[in-house]
């Protein structure tokens, strides 16, 4: 552990990414992918990560041509040990972007959707399945309704039903832990603008250790939750000490068997980690038969599915907000203006709030690749000039689909549209 780290709470992993000095060529390529300038070291010298400004997003790791960055947290063997323990129910919480990427590691064409094979492989390994798409649907309901509350408060002065404080507009999404950490460490005045909804992973962990106890017939203490994510920052998110809501809830309801708090998510495996786990257990995902999730917790809608792409959260949230405000479904269901790889996408939606019988225009923006695109948007918000009411932010270029925990695709890179030469010097 880096004892000098100042921007972490007790118990958090202080920086998931480090750079192996012996492999680093000092080429500077990683710096151009880092959203916070957390990589130190002059051009030509060995580089290292300043853990206090690092968001643990893993973009340097997937883009370093020489494989120098590595993850400091590797719990593959720990998960295998839990899977072998008959007293423990290991719940795998699979994020949307994992199922379209893991096939690559087993020789399937890049982009193959392998949900059934993934379920089959996970069951073979001994996991119970909680599809994170299910939790993404929960997040959408939360974020969508929270946005309506904030908007009605801003436009009609509506008060909170429970007397709680209502956050300001624009509302930022909060499901990307790298983005949340950027706000917390660099722009703390914007914390109230972040949606108060937890990320799908954290909602899933809480559900698994509360509602899931009935589904799997095990006490929360015997349920071991594993987030399976395209994202290295999710490892840091899961280690945040405040994320033990299931324990608090169970304790309050007399269902906690111990005084020792347990986390909602016990550990996180990236997509790469999961394929390593399968390989260690001699499971060939490509050859596995399709299986289903086995419980309601593996059911989900199309809205949860698109979370992994830039614009996905916004599109899903807009569908919810539209339905709640107008009482009708958004038609067409696809909200195309927020799709695609443009750095900052914006759109306006006119909708009629049936409660107030008034037409309102909602301006939304979708930002990904924050290393390149976030600064002007934040400056506008800080200066009070932002035209937007709801802003989705995803750290990684393209969204979680290109997250720092995904299989490293040797044939591509995350440089979106960069053409001009970059002359490294200092």
């Amino acid at each position: 552990m880096n004892v000098a780290a100042k921007t972490y709470q007790k118990g958090e992993i202080p920086g998931v990414i480090a750079i192996k000095a012996s492999a680093c060529k000092g080429c500077d390529a990683c710096k151009r992918h880092c959203p916070t300038g957390a990589i130190t070291g002059s051009f030509g010298a060995t580089h290292s990560v300043d853990v206090d400004s690092c968001l643990s997003c893993g973009q340097c790791l997937i883009n370093c041509p020489f494989g120098a960055p590595y993850e400091t947290s590797d719990t593959v063997d720990e998960v295998i040990a839990r899977l072998k323990d008959r007293n423990t129910t290991v719940v795998g919480i699979i994020a949307p972007a994992v199922r379209v990427a893991i096939g690559e590691d087993f020789g399937l064409p890049a982009g193959s959707l392998v949900t059934g094979k993934l379920y089959g492989s996970m069951k073979k390994a001994g996991f119970e399945i909680l599809d994170n798409n299910f939790a993404a649907d929960l997040t959408i309901m939360e974020e969508g309704t929270e946005f309506i509350v904030r908007a009605r408060h801003a436009v009609f002065g509506e008060k909170s039903e429970h007397g709680a404080e209502i956050g300001p507009l624009p509302q930022f999404t909060s499901c990307c832990p790298a983005w949340v950490r950027l706000v917390e460490t660099k722009y703390p005045t914007l914390i109230p603008n972040l949606s108060s909804a937890k990320s799908p992973q954290q909602m899933a962990g809480t559900v698994a250790k509360t509602y899931g106890t009935k589904v799997w017939g095990k006490s929360a203490e015997k349920i071991y939750t594993v987030g399976i994510m395209p994202c290295t920052a999710k490892k840091l998110e899961a280690s945040r000490p405040e994320f033990n809501n299931a324990y608090e809830y169970n304790k309050k309801n007399g269902r906690a068997l111990t005084d020792k708090p347990y986390p909602d998510i016990d550990t996180v495996l990236t997509t790469r980690d999961l394929s390593r786990l399968f390989k260690k257990l001699k499971i060939n995902l490509a050859a596995e038969k399709d299986a289903d999730g086995g419980s309601l917790l593996a059911d989900y809608t199309g809205a949860g599915t698109i979370f992994g792409n830039t614009g996905g959260v916004m599109e899903a949230a807009l569908r919810t907000a539209y339905a709640v405000l107008t009482g009708e479904e958004l038609k067409p269901l696809e909200f195309k203006p927020v799709r695609g790889l443009k750095g900052v996408k914006s759109a306006s939606v006119k909708l009629k709030d049936t409660k107030y019988n008034k037409e309102v225009t909602v301006n939304v923006a979708v930002i990904h690749n924050i290393a390149e695109n976030i600064k002007p948007v934040i400056d506008e918000v800080l200066s009070g000039r932002s035209p937007y009411h709801f802003i989705e932010v995803m750290n990684c270029p393209g969204g979680c689909i290109n997250g720092g925990g995904q299989p490293i695709y040797g044939n591509g890179s995350s440089w979106l549209g960069a053409i001009r030469p970059l002359f490294a010097w200092k």
Binding site: K25, G26, C27, A29, R32, G41, S42, F43, G44, A45, T46, I62, N63, P65, F66, G67, I408, Y409, G410, N411, G412, S413, W415, A418, I419, P421, L422, F423, A424, W425, K426
Partner: protein, 219 residues
């Protein structure tokens, strides 16, 4: 009697190209070794890399300029280094007689050579191919890594390191023999000319087949 006649072996354009090569490749090799082992402080490593980059740019410009301005010399050079005969095998069998001459102070019969002996031809081929690869990979690694897939950049990095080592080690031999053959060294560094007698001994085929006498006493 020793003849005073000389032969122009390295015309001015070649010498200028070679001066710039010395100015660029020597710093490139030295800084490259430092960059490989990374023994210095951060600021010193940065300076090392900056020198490496500047020297790399000089080398690139030098190569392009020579290719454009001295195109006929480039063609001649290519013809010479890629011309092989049985003599080359015989030459390598005794390593041009140098080990015998340097270590045993013994003169052995060396197969007749053209303007470049077999060792120089091999060095020329390595410089041509290795140098081109080093320039190409160096530019991608420095300025254009984003235009290549990640694994391609990694492969180019490996190629860069491999050819850098090949040429750096060859350079040591080249420097040693270059200075050992002092007349040739003076010709390349100073005036371009070598004594006729020496040329006749070291490169008889060149003298016989390619050299045209301008006048009896001409230099």
């Amino acid at each position: 009697m020793i003849s005073q006649k000389t032969i122009l072996k390295h015309p001015l354009s070649v010498r200028i190209f070679h001066y710039l090569l010395i100015l660029s490749f020597l710093p490139l090799a030295v800084t490259g070794v430092f960059l490989y082992f990374k023994p210095l402080s951060e600021s010193a490593m940065n300076l090392t890399m900056q020198i490496h980059v500047v020297a790399g740019v000089v080398l690139t410009l030098d190569a392009i300029a020579f290719f454009l301005i001295g195109f006929n010399r480039v063609v001649l050079f290519l013809k010479r280094i890629f011309y092989f005969s049985i003599n080359d095998i015989k030459w390598f069998a005794i390593l041009g007689g140098y080990p015998q001459k340097i270590l045993l102070r013994k003169k052995v019969v060396v197969p007749s050579m053209g303007k470049y002996n077999s060792g120089q031809k091999l060095f020329g081929i390595c410089v041509l191919i290795g140098g081109t690869i080093l320039i190409f990979t160096g530019w991608i690694l420095w300025a254009l890594p984003h235009l290549m897939p990640r694994e391609a950049v990694s492969l180019l990095g490996t190629l860069h390191t491999f050819f850098a080592w090949v040429l750096t080690l060859f350079l040591l031999v080249h420097l040693f023999l270059g200075i050992y053959m002092f007349d040739d060294f003076k010709a390349m560094i100073l005036h371009g000319k070598i004594p006729y007698d020496e040329a006749k001994e070291m490169a008889p085929l060149w003298v016989e087949k390619e050299i045209i006498s301008i006048s009896e006493n001409s230099y």
